[in-house]
Amino acid sequence: MTTKVQEPAAAGGKTGSRAAAASGASPALALLAGWLVPGAGHLLLGKWVRAVLLMVSIVGMFAIGIALQGKVYTPNTGEPLDMLGFAGDLGSGLLYGLARLLGWGQAPVLVAVADYGTKFIVVAGLLNIVAAVDAHSLASGRKPS
């Protein structure tokens, strides 16, 4: 006769692994997809409600920042604060590439609301990194559900 005993930590890990296994997504793929397209990491794991909410929040924040005429940072200014801004912007993944490609956010920031726009764009990138890391944690089983 055998008795099955399930430890809490192992149970959490198995739940996360089961979700990743069911979707066929590896943690690295969830991280990469989540970084490139906001919410895509969670979508790969089958958590579509979270994916939609994350996508609406991050893309909405980025779009509002652009609409407010916020600045999109470029990598080669040499200013330390601009480099930090660039690192934040880069967190938006393909959205950043799209903005650079279409020339969005290149006008000089002249009013306070445009400066708010710059902050919206940077924070959208940082939040996207948080969301992508969350997708990685879900896929690896570090976060139970």
């Binding site: 909405g60 407010l68 708010y116 902050k119």
Partner: protein, 58 residues
């Protein structure tokens, strides 16, 4: 597009709170609670800081 300062605060708080709630908690009920708490703290904190700056100036 133009936004008032207050509506910018509300939008920033809303979007940020949604992401914090989803990513920092594992259960839906706790996600909603953390999101609501973050939203309230963002808005109340901003208003408090605004009044503090007004008092310093005057």
């Amino acid at each position: 597009m133009t936004l008032s300062h207050f509506s910018a605060v509300l939008l920033f708080s809303l979007f940020t709170s949604i992401v914090f709630g989803i990513t920092q908690r594992a259960e839906p009920k706790k996600m909603v609670r953390l999101g609501a708490l973050c939203f309230a703290l963002f808005v109340v904190g901003t208003i408090a800081a605004s009044w503090a700056m007004w008092l310093i100036k005057h």
